[in-house]
């Protein structure tokens, strides 16, 4: 019998791997020094831990250790990359290119820059699979463009963008290229050299590390990327991010990266197998279910499905012993359905009906089987209760109906 509740929301966060915790433990009580203390062994021990982590992270993404700048997480990394680059390059230009399905940390940083009159931002559309067309990137470039920022993989629908191609275009035009790789790092191979990435955000808690720590990769050569710090202070992290280093967290991020590097091929294979089983199981049992995101170019653990005629939050309520998330308006603070799903051009009703399953390291086949049955059963129950399902079965075209209350 499976143990309930089942956690299948690994794009939101992941359970910290016990091996990561083991690596962190000594840095709480024994090696508790400040990594910036240069003149005693406590400081040296802490610095050693941080240096090791820098190496572990750099190895995972093919960077140099000194190019890793520690932050409090991917949101801070995104803010630093965007605001730092735009501010530093304000004499060169102020045009930024991004896309509509980016994480809010990117979109809201762009909005803030626009509001302050510091940047003009182009928000590129995506195709029906959520993918940016590199040609659109090329066409959007002007002589004022200072930064292109496109995420590695989308957090809702798992679509992996053609990052290497965009990187080539950026290089060719001499424009700095940032990628929010929070969902990609540790899950799929990410190589900053092959992809031509100049700046890259990542986070520990998405890869079985602790919350509250992340990093920004900042290219040091070809080109050397410079940015204006957002956080001023003691000049830590080569002056780009002041503040005493979160040594325990950083050690955890390093350990998480080392594990990911070693286990990625086998883990990705396992996750794809489980994900495909979940996908097939749901699609066999239910009619009118739709996959959101790219059919092949997607994160191994991601499955985003719209269950037509069933509202997402009510479905979550029915499967309360399974932790997944929904693009339904009712689960968001803004009362708007997911902007990512809507950007795919699907009907708004289907955006309200979307569920994101996020499989991870600790999920089992037994859990997948349980979730398949439970979700299918609940969708059927809710459809029996749904006036839309009834109308569709009667052959009424829902789009032709004049709804009251629109």
């Amino acid at each position: 019998m499976v143990k309930l509740p089942i956690y299948m929301d690994n794009h939101a966060t992941t359970r910290t791997d016990s091996r990561v915790i083991d690596a962190m433990m000594p840095f709480f009580c024994e090696k508790f020094g400040n990594a910036a203390s240069r003149n005693h062994s406590f400081g040296w021990e802490a610095e050693e831990g941080v240096d090791k982590a820098r190496n572990q992270i750099a190895a995972l993404v093919n960077a140099k250790p000194k190019e890793i700048i520690f932050t409090s997480g991917a949101t801070e990394s995104d803010n630093l990359a965007l605001k730092g680059v735009v501010e530093f390059n304000k004499d060169k230009g102020s045009h930024v290119i991004t896309c509509v399905t980016e994480h809010k940390a990117i979109l809201d940083s762009c909005r803030a820059l626009e509001r302050q009159g510091k940047a003009i931002v182009t928000y590129l559309p995506v195709d029906k699979y959520g993918m940016v067309d590199p040609d659109d990137v090329r066409k959007a470039i002007t002589d004022k463009t200072v930064l292109i920022t496109i995420m590695f993989a989308n957090n809702e629908i798992g679509t992996i963008h053609p990052i290497a191609e965009i990187g080539r275009i950026a290089k060719e035009k001499g424009i700095i290229f940032h990628s929010d790789a929070t969902q990609g790092v540790g899950k799929v191979p990410v190589d900053v050299e092959k992809c031509g990435i100049d700046l890259m955000s990542m986070s520990a808690h998405k890869i079985y590390g602790p919350k509250g720590v992340g990093a920004l990769y900042v290219r040091s050569k070809g080109p050397r990327v410079r940015l204006t710090p957002v956080m001023d202070g003691g000049g830590h992290e080569r002056g780009m991010r002041s503040g005493t280093l979160n040594v325990t967290g950083i050690v955890g991020l390093g350990a998480a990266c080392e594990i990911a590097a070693a286990e990625m091929p086998a883990e990705a294979r396992k996750l794809i197998e489980l994900r495909d089983k979940l996908h097939a199981g749901i699609f066999e049992r239910l009619d009118e279910v739709y996959l959101n995101g790219h059919p092949t170019e997607r994160l191994p653990g991601n499955l985003n499905v719209s269950f037509a005629y069933v509202e997402g939050e009510s479905l979550l309520m029915g499967i309360h012993d399974i932790a997944v998330s929904s693009g339904s308006a009712c689960t968001s603070a803004t009362l708007e359905p997911s902007y990512v799903i809507r950007a795919l051009g699907v009907d708004e009703e289907l955006a309200h009906s979307s569920i994101r399953f996020g499989l991870g390291r600790f999920n089992t086949e037994e859990e997948v089987d349980f979730v398949t049955e439970r979700v299918s059963k609940e969708v059927k129950r809710l459809r029996e209760m749904s006036p839309l399902y009834e109308m569709a079965k009667e052959g009424i075209d829902l789009k032709s109906v004049q709804w009251k209350g629109e």
Binding site: Y309, V310, E311, E313, S314, M317, G318, S328, A329, C330, L335, P337, D347, E348, E349, H352, E384, M385, S386, P387, L388, Y389, E390, L398, W403, K404, G405, E406
Partner: protein, 139 residues
């Protein structure tokens, strides 16, 4: 967000789910909301000639609170006269189900559904009595 026990109860054991046959006489149907907004309620009331609500059915596409609101109103209106049912305010649904502020629109929709169903019944009844010949011809 935690749901109130009453919302959970209506969600897990919805009362009076279903539909009356469309051509059944004395049935008023109210469909309110829109799929793009994430809420559609269909409320059907079986009303006697003298205006007494004898039975009710609902189907709802929407969140748990929307389902609970419609389930609750089917219980609430049964046995009421239509003029009495027309005075039901969404606030009494909010109170009964302990709906949080973000879910108040669910109660508003449920109130609208009652009004729409009764209006539909009146319209159909009016048409039936105004044009008995037409009805006979159609039937």
């Amino acid at each position: 967000m935690a749901y109130s026990d009453k919302v959970l109860d209506h969600y897990n054991n919805p009362r009076n789910v279903g539909s009356f046959a469309k051509d059944e006489p004395n049935v008023g149907t109210g469909v309110v909301g829109a799929p793009e907004c994430g809420d559609v309620m269909k409320l059907q009331l079986k009303i006697s000639d003298d205006g007494m609500i004898e039975d009710a059915r609902f189907k709802t596409f929407g969140c748990g609170s929307a389902i609970a609101s419609s389930s609750y109103v089917t219980e609430l209106v049964k046995g009421k006269r239509i003029d009495e049912a027309m005075t039901i305010k969404n606030t009494s649904i909010v109170k009964e189900l302990n709906l949080p502020p973000v879910k108040i629109h669910c109660s508003v929709l449920a109130e609208d559904a009652i009004k729409a169903a009764i209006t539909d019944w009146k319209k159909r009844k009016g048409e039936a009595s105004a044009n008995p010949a037409d009805k006979a011809a159609q039937g």
